[in-house]
Symmetry: C2
Subunit: 336 residues, 2 copies
């Protein structure tokens, strides 16, 4: 499948209208992203092409480019940072897939599945370092520092998630602590980077950080919902895969407090077995539907989407602001 | 064992005399190194303490500090960079140990052996990113860029090494291409970083890069020799472990071109089996002793040590220069 065909599948038509605002810059970002994956080490070049061809929603680059436009920046700098953010995102994905022993990513075999864990560890390192090297190219230290912090927080988030794996007693607080670092952090960084470019805009920067953080948290809640509700084909990976990886997400965390010990055992069995042996997928789905926690999580996600939008109120009204205001809506109603 | 006791074991008495020149700064580096391993994620804090307590020769920090003194720099900056270089070195070690499935490092169970591969992948990411974050703290972009390049080259070196694993037909050229990136690159960066500090000294910087590169190459040749000649106890890991990991190093590469097909098969068997099943360790040692390639490699290492020393001729004579001139001697005659 071509990148364009893949994108057409993942980006709803109504969102395309907003993305048209930064279409030229998104295209430039793709070029920079592809170019920086080049290497004289044959495996890196091959895996780089594979990752590029795999596409993706490019949400984080779009965030960088739209907030740059909102703040009236128009240069090469935001294009570089958009590519850097996508590089960092992909570096975390290849390492996370090793850890989760994931065999599928975006509907294709994962990098670790194709090339093995050893090469994939080093590819992740290479991607992270290439991202930093590119981020340095415009000489803006504050931007590089923000990206370093985001990368550190994401790594810590993944570690906290790993520590919680298999635990049936995860609290709502634990859950939000993990997804704040694992997912929301890079959204916050992406949305606020352009405020660190000259002329620096600290007040707008803070609002955009909060916007990105709410949007990222909303994104993760929806991601976790989709693991219960999506069709396998739509998602490019099996449903209920979180639970099978030993990860309890919000719909089940909320339900666990309310159900009887017998049904709690069903969940514990899947966490222990990492498979549906002693309890079935249907039984698990019955729990979240019965307790109504999918609807509750959707409600929480809606609240976060509204919070994100409200952060933009003090920013200058313009087409880019309209697009950023609409983004939470698309995140909320996405199907993959 | 305490860090001091461990260090006393690994640093020869005569070398200590030279290291006394930067004793205060080395101590400050240890403190910075230890402090930057702190984290609110319990595993990172525990693994950080474990790595710190494991000690190490701290050769790369010593290189940074001695060249800084040679160039008359005296501040906090070189201490930070010394700690950063040691952090990067340790990040590569923890990821390399995953890849090599190493169970021992510095005479103790490796991080992956204690905490498993998944956590160790993320710990490596955390160490790399913390290193970059610290490197940024003095606002010297050229230093951060040099460290990024070194990290990229090291990752590529490890990838090339991985690609060559199990290959019996490795050429001398392949070998040097790998060790230049895998080992010499960080020595070159460490030795030349202080020339990138204000006032920048491009000419001295180039000589120091070459010094570090020759010293690092020499260091790796000696490392590869020790894998044939050291006692297991001295090295903190089994002897002939390179071959058992499928890695052909220079003593065997040189011998392979000269021996008959029957003895070449011995080497190929160990590379295939990753164990001494069809050929014994004694048979392998017989090859390198019989062909005299250990002596040849030692001769090459001596040449590199002399080259390193000669690079310092144009630099101002002082105690630090004496120490840097003596360093190749210690690298050459080290026993671990």
């Amino acid at each position: 499948m071509t990148v364009d065909a893949r994108k057409a599948q993942v980006i709803p038509v109504e969102a395309s209208r907003y993305l048209d605002l930064v279409a030229g810059k998104l295209e430039a970002t793709e070029k920079v992203f592809h170019r920086c994956l080049a290497s004289d080490v044959p495996f890196v070049a091959a895996a780089g092409d594979y990752i590029f061809a795999g596409g993706g929603k490019r949400m984080r680059p779009a965030l960088v480019l739209l907030t740059a436009q909102l703040l009236d920046r128009d240069g090469d700098e935001e294009v570089t940072y958009a590519a850097v953010v996508e590089l960092i995102h992909n570096a975390t994905l290849v390492h996370d897939d090793i850890i989760d022993q994931a065999t599928l990513r975006r509907g294709r075999p994962s990098v670790n599945e194709v090339w093995g864990n050893s090469r994939t560890v080093l590819l992740g390192d290479w991607l992270y370092t290439t991202a930093m090297q590119m981020a340095l190219s415009h000489g803006n230290l504050d931007v590089v520092r923000r990206l370093c912090t985001a990368t550190l927080r994401m790594t810590e988030g993944e570690l906290l998630s790993l520590e919680s794996q298999g635990r049936a007693a995860l609290s709502t607080q634990d859950y939000f602590r993990i997804i704040d670092r694992k997912t929301a952090e890079l959204f916050a960084a992406a949305a606020s980077l352009p405020a660190l470019m000259e002329p620096v805009e600290p007040v707008h920067g803070k609002a955009l950080e909060r916007y990105g953080r709410s949007l990222g948290t909303c994104f993760q809640l929806v991601d976790d919902l989709l693991d219960f509700t999506a069709l396998e084909d739509d998602l490019g990976k099996p449903v209920l895969s979180d639970l099978k990886e030993g990860k309890l997400t919000l719909p089940l965390i909320l339900a666990m407090e309310r159900i009887d010990a017998g049904r709690r055992r069903w969940v514990e069995w899947v966490l222990e077995d990492r498979a549906f042996h002693r309890a079935t997928a249907e039984q698990i789905l019955e729990i979240v539907h019965g307790e109504g926690t999918l609807d509750e999580v959707r409600e929480l996600a809606s609240g976060l989407a509204r919070e994100a939008t409200s952060e933009l109120e003090l920013l200058p009204p313009c087409d880019a602001r309209d697009a950023l205001e609409a983004a939470p809506h698309f995140v909320l109603h996405r199907r993959r």
